[in-house]
Amino acid sequence: MVDSILLNPIYIIGIGLGTSFILGFFKSGRFQAHPSAMHSERIKTAPWVLMIGALTVMTFISAEWLWSFLFNGQLPQQIYTAGFEPPFSINLLMGRNEAFFTLMVNLVGLLSGLYLLDKFKEMGTHALSVYLVLIMGLNGIIMTRDIFNLFVFLEIASIATAGLIVMTSDVKALSAGFKYMIATGLISGFLLIGIIFAYYFGGSLNIDSLAEANLTTVQGGVFAVFLIVVSLLLELKPFPANGWGIDAYEASPVGINAVISSASAGATYYVLSKVLIITDAKWYAVTAVVGIITFLGSNLMGIKQTNAKRMLGYSSVGQVGLLLVILGLSEQLGNSFKFIIFGIMMSHYLAKAGLFWLVGIVKTGILKDWGILRKKPVLVFFMGTFIFALLGLPPFPSFFAKWTLVLTLSAAGLNLWVGLILFGSLIEAVYLFRWFGYVLKLDADKERSLSTPFYRTFPVWLFGLLSYYIGYVASVMVPGGETLGMFYLPLAFVGFLFIIDRYLPVWVKNTLSMAAMALYGWYYMAGLSEFRMLFAIIFIGGGIVTMIAGYAKSGKRVGFYPFVVMMYIGLGGLLLSENILQFFISWELMTLGSYVLIIRGKKSMPHALSYMMFSLGGAFLILAGFGLAFAGSGVSSISLDILKNVTRYSGLIYTFLAIGFMTKTAVIGLHIWLPGAHAEAESDVSPMVSAILLKAGMFGLVVLMLAMGSQSLGGVSLPYLLGWLGAITALLGNLMAAFQEDAKRLLAYSSVGQLGYVVFAMAFMSHLGWLTALAFALNHFVFKALLFLAIGGVVMRTKTKTMYEMGGLIKRMPLSFISVLIGIIALSGLPPLTGFAGKWLSYNAVIEKGWYFQGFLVSIAGLVAFLYCFRLIHVIFLGQPKDKFKNIKEAPIAMLIPQYILIGVIMLFSLMPNMVLKPIGEFLVQYFPDGALQWDGGTAVSSLGRWSGVAIMNITIGIFGTILIWLLFMSRKAVKVKQFNIFYSGEAPSRPELTHYGYNFFAPYKKAVGFLVQPLVTRFWDGIADILHSISDFVRRLYNGNGQMYAFQVILFVVVFSIFTIG
């Protein structure tokens, strides 16, 4: 129990006020413009120390209360003023919520106070008083239970805010402050009318008494309720009547807008939530509607912003909108309401304050100048933390909150809300990730330095670390949180990697990471079976093999290994998941890790952004799908098995999940992120993201299809659609690959095509189909990793990815050449190598299923694959070597080792396909008993034909060897001739550039079928982006900067709102 005398919550107010009055004893400091008035350092610091002391005590009191509420079973306490009981005197309440919110306010107040040290020194004691009063006022807003008293505290807060806005003392801030005053003046006027009418109709000013008075049932009382609600909503800056608020965000000094965003918004939000008890259900619904409009509208506005503060302002308003939605739907959310609010609120609070603080450290609002933050990698880390937290990615509290929100809303049948919330979140992600991309990629101004005094970085550190801690707390609280233990140890290792990241050389970290992954695989994956085991081999085994290439790097490679390991943990987590929560967390972890890996590439900024957008879009669809499944299964369980028991919405669930997973497999239409992302990534990242990561989507499809079988939507069989989609993807992906000039892009498009095969084959929902798909998947992993590594090695040496600039490299890089040769033979499915297995199986499956035309498309895709395969090897390795690459070396040994391991795998698989395919077939029989493949030793026998890998291999090698020996014998005297010793009508060309035919290699093809590869999809998505941007640009003209316009909007909001609610 808290001592109610010594730690009376009223002291928060008393101390705040008293200290600011004491500050009046100090001589006021003045502007810098008057240096004569500057006082000595110590005198200037003393008031600041006093204020910090006061804030510390205030923080301590609310912390103490929260502590006793949480752990000592403290009961809520009423604080009566003037010694009389409410409703006749003003009373305050200190309950669990109040303790929580005041702690939030005071903590951010304290830290911002710390952060603003030099600013305060410059501005003097008046500013300190005003600041302290602001914090005090916010505390009052939270605790008071009297509605007029609330008005007074709101006025205090808004006047103090207006005062602090002008602390920057430029004309922009002044005009913003003036607009802010006009708007808040009007709003508080309306609030006052509402209050006095509430008093008239309810006979009291006490909120609890007013609640008993049932104002909404009194004729006329509804006006009072309307005005109170609308003014409080307006205080929360609802879209579109919020231009004044946005300007204020932009104009106010950075420490201050941290307070406005985190603390004021939180406090005002809490006020609304406590005042809403005087209303009825209708007003909750109204709040939710206003909230969603604000959430969507503000985030839309955010897209067009170029100034960090303004953008964060929009984001803040949007987040508050989301909180309003949740508040408005609190009835439907039931028991989860508090948890959801807690999660979203905490994330917003920590992240927004942190980001605003960072704005002050970077000292510029211009987003494109933010590259300078890279001088302090720790701050970049925290910035990422905040952005991820804001967007609801794990392991941050908002993730768990959004998760619960979606599940609960779905269970309540509020699917439209789910859709809108997720859509808004996606828009928000657009600009936040774009910003993060700028930070990570754009060149910094070399001249500028980044000053990071302790008092500025400390708050950022604290809130950054708190985000993780609160995330942990939320993860324990979320239903199903007890099953998240599987992430703790692996993620702890990621944390460890972060800590050592800046100190150890790359080979140490590479070794550590590989060892960790091996252990991870050993301890966590050993018990897996069937599909999961198969994918574990690809994910973890493949991951380790590709990581060998990391030894080729030198230096420290800061910011690489934690994310690699995180990605693999995510991938592994997918396999270990038993419930949808684990699955979704893993999915997001994987996305996060891979995003950072992808953006590390030199030119990958836009591609990483589109990767993230598609991934998040996909993740949200998955989330929506899980939500529907949770609702549709009828059992309140989060086990993955609910997918099997779905009784409602099954078509929708299937569609959502399938599309969500297919954003990762990059099916046509959702593929535009892939080529850039894979092509621009670093040479050892490309194989990871292309060969391994894409399989995550496939695994998702496996889980989905096994659980739900075939579903249909609107009478159309979804697997049938998937089949077509996969086939078209295969064809178009390969065609596009054939026309690339960029080697890695070619491989990337090839991945699109290959994954098209996989989707196509899975859609068969038959034994052979799935066997095909799995064979494809394994093969694709092996040869794509091989090719990307080999090409990566070449690119590393030549420093270019454009194929026609290379040529003749076979002489310099023979080992890489062999890798590529084996790789393309496997890829194009030529016998005797392993790729043929997939082809053969797919023909069997096609005939068996009767999907002839789809099969036909896939066959053509195979032919086209042949084209680009040849192009890849020819243009890079054959032809005339260029002068500038005359002396380049073979790829580093570290890159070659994994390549030859993979070649070994290919050879083994080619010789003994039964070794792999037979066990797969055996477990597939459980799911698809019909049409299984028979094995006659090493020969596969289907109802249609037969295929003996061993025999083909042996015969081919026999013929090949014989002829080779014969030829070698015949031309045993031949020696290699010089480069230009070719028959050229007697004239040797002088430049190798003239003799290397590599550009637009398949020109005739392009002429003939180029119309098929028009970038329609890209144009479609660009169009969507353009439309969003145009809407954003158009709507933001509302905010024309004119104070009267803003006032007009505020009043219009009131009028329109009244028409909709009581009119």
Binding site: N8, I10, G14, L17, G18, S20, F21, I22, G24, F25, K27, S28, R30, F31, H34, S36, Y80, T81, A82, G83, F84, P87, F88, S89, I90, M123, G124, H126, A127, S129, V130, V133, M136, G137, G140, T144, D146, F148, N149, V152, E155, I156, I159, G163, V166, S169, I193, Y199, Y200, G203, S204, L205, S209, Q219, G220, F223, F1048, V1055, S1058, I1062
Partner: protein, 231 residues
């Protein structure tokens, strides 16, 4: 013009809404629950004849504290960003007329006394801290008008303001220890109803409020006065 038409349409909408509100207002025949309580118990519990004062200072004392805080804020903000001329001597202002100066010399002390009277008697008669404070401030205006050359000591106002504010908060906190809660009136005996020294701590508070409001308003005015010289 288009803009005005829009505004007119908007105001018609708002007017229609206000019409609805005014229409729902029928006046009252008797005091409502809260007001009745004050009417019945105010005199007894607080001991102030002026019920408005009783409410303002005691029952809703926190509001008043907030309100003086707002004035404090305003004064602080104005002081903060209405920058004063440091070089006071340089200004070139016509001295005001002899008559005004003499009148001011006589009137200002009277006005100050009146102001003090108003807030000392706030618990008995109409008026109180705010009104008294405002009167004091108006006296200051007269002073400023008559003697523009005289440098007004804004430090003095600041000190008075801080002292009274601090005492106010201090009394409030003392209520927690000595009586029923923050700003409890009964830490002093209520005294005899209707006399100057009655109503517990209320008069003291109102005096502090008066001092505070007066000094804040004066400070504010001084700041605005000081801007006059910047040209």
């Amino acid at each position: 013009m288009v803009r005005k038409i829009f505004v007119i349409i908007l105001l018609i909408g708002l007017g229609w809404f206000f019409y609805g509100m005014a229409d729902s207002f029928h006046g009252s025949d008797s005091l409502n629950m809260t007001a009745s309580y004050y009417a019945e118990n105010g005199a007894e519990e607080v001991g102030a004849a002026n019920l408005v004062t009783a409410i303002v200072v005691t029952y809703r004392g926190l509001d008043t504290l907030g309100e003086v805080t707002i004035l404090f804020l305003t004064a602080a903000i104005a002081a903060f960003f209405l920058k004063s001329k440091e070089e006071f001597s340089k200004r070139d202002v016509k001295p005001s007329s002899e008559l005004l100066q003499t009148a001011a010399g006589m009137l200002v002390p009277l006005i100050f006394v009146l102001g003090v009277y108003v807030f000392v008697n706030g618990h008995l008669s109409p008026g109180g801290g705010f009104q008294g404070g405002a009167i004091i401030a108006s006296g200051l205006v007269l002073l400023l008008l008559s003697k523009p050359l005289q440098k007004v000591n804004s430090r003095f106002f600041a000190l008075v303001e801080s002292f009274s504010g601090l005492f106010y908060v201090g009394i409030g906190v003392a209520g927690i220890f000595l009586a029923g809660g923050f700003l409890d009136n009964s830490i002093l005996p209520l005294g005899e109803f209707g006399t100057l020294l009655s109503a517990g701590i209320l008069p003291v508070i109102y005096i502090l409020v008066g001092l505070k409001v007066g000094s804040e308003l004066s400070g504010l005015l001084t700041k605005f006065q000081e801007t006059q010289e910047e040209n």
